[in-house]
Symmetry: C2
Subunit: 645 residues, 2 copies
Amino acid sequence: MSDTTCRRLTPVPLTQVSIESAFWAPRLRTNRDVTLPIEYQQCKYTGRIDAWKLDWTPESGTEEPHIFWDSDIAKWIEAVGYAVAIERDPELEALVDGVVDLMEAAQQPDGYLNIHFTAVEPELRWSNLRDWHELYCAGHLMEGAVAYYEGTGKRKLLDVLCRYADYIDTVFGPGDDQLPGYPGHEEIELGLVKLYRATGNERYLNLAKFFVDERGQQPHYFDIEAQRRGKALPAHYGDNHDYNQSHLPVREQETAEGHAVRAMYLYSGMADVAGETGDPTLLAACETLWDNVTKKRMYLIGGIGSAPHGERFSVDYDLPNDDGYLETCAAIGLVFWAQRMLQYDGDSRYADVMERALYNGCLSGISLSGDRFFYGNPLEVDLDARRGQPQHYRGTSMAPVRQEWFGCACCPPNIARLLASVGSYVYSTSDDALYVHLFIAGETKVEIGGQSVSVEQVTEYPWQGHVKLVVTPETAATFALALRKPDWCRVAELRINGKTVEPDTMRKGYAMVTREWQPGDVVHWMMEMPIERMRANPAVRHDAGRVALQRGPLVYCLEELDNGPNMADLILPADAPLTVRWRGDLLGGVMVVEGDMLRRDSLAWEGALYQMDPSPLVVAPFTAISYYAGANRELGNMIVWVREG
Amino acid sequence: MSDTTCRRLTPVPLTQVSIESAFWAPRLRTNRDVTLPIEYQQCKYTGRIDAWKLDWTPESGTEEPHIFWDSDIAKWIEAVGYAVAIERDPELEALVDGVVDLMEAAQQPDGYLNIHFTAVEPELRWSNLRDWHELYCAGHLMEGAVAYYEGTGKRKLLDVLCRYADYIDTVFGPGDDQLPGYPGHEEIELGLVKLYRATGNERYLNLAKFFVDERGQQPHYFDIEAQRRGKALPAHYGDNHDYNQSHLPVREQETAEGHAVRAMYLYSGMADVAGETGDPTLLAACETLWDNVTKKRMYLIGGIGSAPHGERFSVDYDLPNDDGYLETCAAIGLVFWAQRMLQYDGDSRYADVMERALYNGCLSGISLSGDRFFYGNPLEVDLDARRGQPQHYRGTSMAPVRQEWFGCACCPPNIARLLASVGSYVYSTSDDALYVHLFIAGETKVEIGGQSVSVEQVTEYPWQGHVKLVVTPETAATFALALRKPDWCRVAELRINGKTVEPDTMRKGYAMVTREWQPGDVVHWMMEMPIERMRANPAVRHDAGRVALQRGPLVYCLEELDNGPNMADLILPADAPLTVRWRGDLLGGVMVVEGDMLRRDSLAWEGALYQMDPSPLVVAPFTAISYYAGANRELGNMIVWVREG
């Protein structure tokens, strides 16, 4: 359990962080110029926009509005909100404003706002919280409304969502005339806390707390609800309450179960409520769950939810590579949760996971071109293995080729909102410190202890580990600079104004330097960034005898295009030298890892399928690229974990 | 292509081979005393016997007779036929005779004999050869009838099947008033050839040849048939003709495709027809297909058909261990095909595969107790991986626990008929040679070039590689003794009457010794039988970096019960000494392989999921048992391919 129950840190908001990183700035530009327009077009083309007119009928000849359509456009609005907070964009805003007008018109007199359960099945409103997505959609709409309000100052959608939240607050609660229910797919908890922060209305926080507290209590709401329906409707993934994390009251949950995205949103919501209420029992539950996820159920790329069936967590250490699911949204959710946990006491283990997921399992979810997406992000692609499986077992969500869109299109707008808001993950402040969590070139301006401080960060991270910080308080000021020493870094050197110094202390993974800072003080934080061979716990049977290459925060992979077929037969000698080389021409610029592996000489086999003697080995030069950059060229096999020998 | 188009060898029949092997004799006894009675009871209990009364109605309250029920009891009758050929058994015969009476009564006036399409859907007779199993069931009934006739001299069932075959011969054929069809599930080809051999009626051979020749011709019969049905009926595994090996005329097929059992029965039928007709093109196709199966698509245990979906062949070298299907029936079918190919010219490559499948992938299909069965025989059991998968993806056919019976119960009576007839796989004769294919202690009496010769085989095979043969011609006689030198054997020594001699020649894997044999001549064939580390072709990505232990014909496995959890982390040092030890107390008596492996020290990990440094290794003593003996104790994980380092 943490030694504090209140958040000591506050993230430096998006608007106070400029990004000039050669790695990140082009991504944000692509996100704004390519991804956001395309996602609008996809929503338009698939009917997700016009559905807000609520005029769908079975005779329309168009697809029936799905129960989660609302959330796709909501996440897109949220992403636009972040993008325009940095730089206004009349064209994007015009698109949003048009949708907002539809939404406002779609709001029912009582405040209700949902496409499907207004236009298609109005009689079923709130009748199946377990399997349907009304509260989930509401939560995303709230997040979108807050982001768009904060990015533009436009209140219309925020007001709509406040009315909706007010209405929801009358429907759900402990009163005799209220439903003691909670969402089957968590999300509204986050939306309500954001709405509370944006409006100061405690009603929203209390409702979020109600949803968190009520979850998994007995008698079980979802059972009562199912009985009320006469179980006439098919259950989604059965009656297993762990699928939606309602198998126990949340404070009694010790392992991450069920649908991974739902779990991440729940845990983020728990962290939010704990942060606002100072509830130590809720925080303790988060910490227990954090340990389970990150020490037993997380892939090296920060992906989670290994089981395709149910997009869910499997058992401890069950992290198959080719069969792994690792939904993009789940890695994004892990970033959300990590950032929330990080604010409590500035423990770098949260930032380490946040960075790992961000640079690997999240970034892999979108193509370099910004217009193609992965739903699943496995650590191995084995096209032959897929040939031997039934088509229905792997849909487009597990396709090895990035898709333009998905029927269940949660991931594309989710990665867009994460990218648009990446600036908000870089720094935090406390009363007396500036925390540097991520190393992203750019500038920030913060207040610390009433002092205004500008900081310029210069770095080629993630390609190099040297970070230069120019610290410029308005006038000389005393505060701590907290520099994260990442989990991948064995040795880091600190220089201030050219002189090597020791940090005052290492505190929870951060090098703390407290001094009276003068305008223009220069700090060098020089993290050695060799290529590391990562190894998985012996209980992860899929990675036994294997290593994964990692340099800095970036996990590497080998693609067939660079390394030829049958990469399973490659073996990396334990003493093989590994080198890095900048390839500006490749994949938008990437530092490749090169070296020599060995492979068996197929020719020596003369067609035999089995033989008794070992084979001669031949040298096989290899090129590894960063995992996020994979699947941006021709279709082919890919591996992350290579055999070591 | 073979250098002969006629069979040079003839198997020595069951009735001329006694089995006294300490390995095999108890298995045959269990088969007769336990398996055959239990299988009858299962057929009775599940309605497969009474269904022959043809009185089922939807109101019966019993299960609707399935389209393949006929074949289950037919294979059981065949097994009884072989068992009583060796030693009559009034009780078993009484059970058969009772069923035969029902069958005789069930035969329609025109000769038709099928439960489902007489009692349930008579109007659909012959309307869907692709998906239904009428001709398949007919074939099994023919095989059963011939075996029972040859084992007992009782003709009733043989006569019934001749009438049925006569009728089928009027329905199918090239005539204008005939159907140019062939079975979706092959089998009748084998039955017809056996019926031809038992009766001498060439009509049956010609019909078998018709079915083989017609397969895959254009216009495609199954398409025409589907059109005739208006495609109203759901296709079984779609319209993929390769599923049932009708994608090409059989002589143009070069890779083993589709449902593995169907493929084995087709290829066996092709070999039969080629053998009887001397058709070199048919034999050439068999040889091409043989190479594809055994050099690219066969597991080390002689199992085939790696893909669970469709119980079918996947692509070359796609041989997953945990996900592998390896239906017991497919390995049995491979034995059938191998034995047929072996008779052409006595090439030991066929006997090698026959022995490999028999001792491993077939024997594993039945428990040591004789009353539990495997449908699938994977080379790895990973219970955790199964937890992460949908239930519907793995039914009882892939359960890691042997089952008492299956809804699709093809495997139990199939293994029973193979075990009951194992004596027929041991020897062949040619005009001037006695071939010893398998090393099974017992006696045989054969005719070679008109001379009667008795041979006593004394050996503890498969546990020891020493074989003693006492050759006793009635009078001194000149002929060749052909002793197989198995593919697993590097060094074998030949002694005659105590003196080491060189074979006259090695011919296609057989040590040939031609001499004038005197009564009581003693031959020692001493095959060195060390523990071998088998390696798979580099293209088999699932086995890269791994070895499988094999001693003699037996492949070994490691069970969790003997070796603790997480066997994936075990590593067998390249120079680790391996020892064998007889354990008479274990699993009915088994030679275990023991030694020391290494595994990482989990304690050194302190709960970390990933780390950068290698772990210390600790010694992990291991015990391996023969694969066929696995899954006879507590449920647990199992591996065959262990990492070598």
